[in-house]
């Protein structure tokens, strides 16, 4: 089982934001990662979530990648272009 899934800067970002309430709110991100947030915070009982093995480690990593998506504002060069489609 792999250990230490949330490491380095990404892990630090994840942990810092998990300890704050920056992940709170509604919308696509929190709705799809709410469980992962808690998994990362707690992990299996008695273990450091950032060092957790088992399924919690994978979900903690998922949190990290999603959290980066919420940081925003560092390269704000505008809205994505608009495509048109029919459904």
């Amino acid at each position: 089982m792999r250990r230490g899934s949330v490491e380095g800067l990404a892990g630090a970002i994840a942990r810092a934001l998990l300890e704050s309430d920056a992940f709170a709110g509604s919308g696509p991100i929190s709705a799809s990662t709410g469980g992962a947030r808690i998994a990362a915070r707690r992990g299996p009982p008695g273990r450091d979530p950032a060092q957790a093995s088992g399924r919690g480690a994978g979900l903690a990593a998922l949190v990290a990648s999603r959290i980066v998506a919420r940081l925003g504002g560092t390269n704000d060069d505008g809205e994505l272009p608009l495509d048109t489609i029919e459904i």
Binding site: A10, S53, L62, L82
Partner: protein
């Protein structure tokens, strides 16, 4: 067992269970609709099932248990979510075709796979994004194909429900050590929305998390794909990709996991997410109860092997034992598995076997 699970349940719980299983709620109870607000709140929380509700259920049967105001809200929500899902399907079609044209093996995952395997039409299973799995060696090609198919590397605005172009350095830091690419996003204006859908988007503010400029003549939404090279950090994708199958939906040939791998992934995701948070993930039982009758003994034997290989047998037990609560009979071999798993193996540790107990009360927001 099933009855005891609902010993302290409210009426809206029973209604929601019926709706998740594809049935209508029972019990028109006169003019009073005491559970209307609670049921509406729960259905909106489990919005992924809204498009799966039949017209009979959405238009007629729900009216028996909801106030006219709540009923109108849910009808609008169902219309708006279904249109959003149709946009996800249409928006990702070119990318999936490109995978085939360029010989990149892939598999739809999670909700996108469930939509193909368990529902009559793909738009009937809601999800925020389209999850796709590819081999690690193909990840660069897959991303290039996404970019050439109209997707952009994007990240979410921290303050508003918008995506912006991604900070490449930050994105690279995370992707280096994790199992999926960051967001790949398109912004889509759907030009042929019906008048009914446009009215729903305009009238129901809850839908504005899916649709932007919803009151204008040109509503638009995002289409998001998540490209994974692992199921999780602990579960490789190799086995799943080796067991894909092709299905044809609306003339599109699509690659999806076989039912054994799909079921194992569903059980893993449902159990691990819901056991760690109150009130999350109930909608995934809509997939489980549609999958269970399809698990013949051969498929189920393979599913059990996958679960065992990843220390998820306890998860399988805790998830599958609740299928009868939805009025769905378990195949005999699945029922036997539940009986066998009721007692843990001797000398095993709950943590070591990833047995964090029953997630059922937590799914309902209870201890």
């Amino acid at each position: 067992m099933a009855r005891s699970m609902f010993a302290d349940a409210d009426a809206e719980d029973h209604h929601l269970v019926a709706l998740l299983a594809g049935r209508g709620p029972k019990g028109a109870s006169g003019r009073e609709r005491p559970h209307s607000a609670a049921l509406t709140r729960r259905l909106l929380a489990d919005w992924q099932v809204l498009p799966s509700l039949s017209d009979d259920v959405a238009d007629d049967l729900l009216l028996a248990v909801l106030t006219p105001e709540d009923h109108a809200r849910l009808r609008n929500a169902r219309l708006g979510v279904a249109a959003f899902q149709r946009a996800q399907v249409a928006g990702s079609a070119g990318l999936l075709e490109a995978f085939d044209v360029h010989g990149v093996p892939y598999s739809l995952l999670k909700g996108a796979a469930a939509a193909c395997l368990l529902y009559p039409e793909r738009h009937m299973r809601g999800a925020w994004d389209i999850d796709i799995g590819v081999a690690w060696d193909d990840i660069g090609t897959a991303e290039a194909l996404a970019l050439s198919s109209g997707y952009h590397q994007a990240q979410r605005d921290p303050d508003r429900p918008f995506f912006r172009r991604a900070d490449r350095e930050l994105r690279a830091i995370v992707e280096e050590s994790h199992f999926e690419l960051g967001f790949l996003v398109r912004r889509l204006e759907v030009t042929n929305l019906s008048d009914a859908v446009r009215a729903a988007l305009r009238d129901e503010p809850w839908l504005h998390q899916f649709w932007h400029d919803a009151g204008s003549v040109s509503p638009w939404c995002y289409s998001v794909v998540d490209i994974h090279h692992k199921v999780s950090l602990d579960i490789e994708l190799r086995g799943l990709l080796a067991a894909t199958q092709r299905v044809v939906r609306a003339e599109a040939s699509l690659s999806v996991p076989d039912l054994a791998w799909f079921g194992a992934h569903l059980i893993f995701k449902l159990y691990w997410e819901s056991v760690h948070k109150y009130g999350k993930g109930l909608y995934q039982f809509a997939d489980v109860v549609r999958l269970a009758p399809l698990l013949d003994d051969r498929i189920f034997a393979r599913l059990v092997v996958i679960l065992e290989n990843h220390k998820l047998l306890a998860a399988g037990y805790h998830v599958l034992k609740h299928v009868p609560d939805f009025g769905v009979a378990l195949p005999p071999h699945v029922a036997n598995f539940i009986a066998d798993m009721r007692s843990p193996p001797l000398d095993t540790d709950p943590i070591e076997t990833n047995d964090l107990g029953d997630m059922w009360p937590k799914l309902w927001g209870r201890r």
